[in-house]
Amino acid sequence: MRYLALLYGQESEEEADPTSQAFADEMSRYQRFEEFAGEAIVGGEALEPTSRAISLRFVGDDRVVTDGVLSEATEVIGGLFVLEAEDLDGAIEIARHLPAAEDGAVELRPLVDWYQNEAHRPDGSTRYLALLRGTEPETMRPGTAAWEAAVEEHARFEKEEADAILGGGALHPSDTGTVLRMRGGQPLLTEGSFAEVGEVIGGLYLLAAGDQQEIVRLAKGIPMGPPGIIELRPIVEMDG
């Protein structure tokens, strides 16, 4: 199975500054994790601070664009990994070594599907992670007609914007999620999603865009209706 590990924590300005010691320390902690997890890591990205995010709120047919994120939570997503594990126990065994599990929390969500292919990424483009947040009607679960209809709409979007889409995935509903916190060396597990009700993440895209105007245009095309929110987060580029 594939699990999305969402890394929640408090943002620190110091850690966000690539020239700081705190940034270097954090980097080496994650390097150690990546060495430990090895091939269990299918993908992973660190995200720029939420101050650099762009949010799209869907109000009827209107799509309102605002800077930053719409949540007031103090612990926000700072990065993510896609992990391959036989089952939840396997995923927890890996995720408990994540620095975010000790400092904040890790939300483990089983993925319905996941793909990532960056071969066609345009030169000089910026990568963004689009987090699709919304409510979860009971009729919207894998296997239902509503789910299948949504899958088709996304397939159409993915075909139309094939050049700009580098990857993406759909998540099982949040009631299949597990929040992991390591406290005193012991795992503390809770059911469900870390986010407050009504804002749970149902899917994600990895997008490439030349500029902000382009990324907003792309995001507006993501098939999602009210009361959905799309959160665009620039990805930290390690090599350059």
């Binding site: 089952d87 939840l88 126990d89 597990t178 809770t190």
Partner: protein, 416 residues
Amino acid sequence: MAEVATSERLEATFREEWGRCIATVARSVGDLGLAEDAVQEAIASALRHWPRSGIPERPGAWLTTTARRHAIDRLRRETRRTDKEEAALRELERVGPSSHTNVYPVADDQLRMIFTCCHPALSAVAQVTLTLRLVCGLSTTQIARAFLEPEPTTAQRVSRAKRRVRDAGIPLRIPDRQHLPERLAAVLACVHLVYREGYAATGSENLIRASLCEEGRRLSGLLAELLPNEPEILGLHALLLLQEARRPARTTADGDLVLLEDQDRGAWDRSLIDEGIAVLDRAASRQRPGPYQLQAALAAEHARAPSWEATDWPTIVALYEALQRHAPSPVVELNQAIAVAQLEGPAVGLQRVDAIDDAKLVRSHLFAATRAEFLRQLGREDQAREALRSARDLAPTEAERRFLTTKLEGLGTAEG
């Protein structure tokens, strides 16, 4: 020889075989929901056949084979199978439904099921519900009655929990040695919770919810059979036996609570006490003490004492100290204060209680009622009355409110 299938015999047989059967089928098909449905269908088949043919010699084997066959049919009918279902179907078709291969002992199947139902990634209430349904074989109707909630609420919780096990990837597996202690702790906590839910019941709720005590005791007994070398399992089993022994004396016929010190010790079930003490001795011989063994030791000490006054208080105090080291909690501290007061008087008891630094406990009726008792013994009646009043107002159950009201009246005051 086939046994005549009276409806009582049928019910008893299903009850007896359910847990083992579903555990074995779940292992072959890898899915709790499918296993449960298949076993239900097998029981429906049995209800059609057995009244004529009689109950077969090995009813469990019959039910398991039939359930497997139903599961195969169901999987074949699925047009879109997941990889896991595909693998399960191939395996089932390879070995055939009646393969009672002894490769997997049934005991392991049952342990696997218990560890899955009590997986720490499930909420406590989901763990309890799944355990009662899939291990104990209680129907959703019975669980709903035991928890005093509408049946659809229970049914929804059962189906959500099964779905979560499947979709979140909670494995059907016995944890390895490294993780056994932490996972076993979750199992024991779940079984203890099942028992306590029943134990807390009084009055009219008593008869309905008492079934939870029975299930709790069955579960701890089953665990003690499946993992006989785990002293904490024996500790929990001993604790439940000893608590059960006192249960008849802890309420009056009208459902009023009776404190341990006022209980009719002649009404305690001596055979349960003997059994509990024997189990505790077996646990203690392994010399790996833990919180459940210590709680059982405390219960055993009270069970042995001929009266409240003649209780071995130094031993009780020492046991509370040990418990406080193993599993520190403000409730233990409170009980310890009560025991200390038996040796050193109410003034010391009050001092101890007032030294407890825990916001939640300080706001509980237990705390207020304990203070009230020490104040009364010290002759500070006005303060005792005040403490009792707040205890009464904080008490969560009707039985406890009634009990505290009676105490308040005993202090000789008008209603306050």
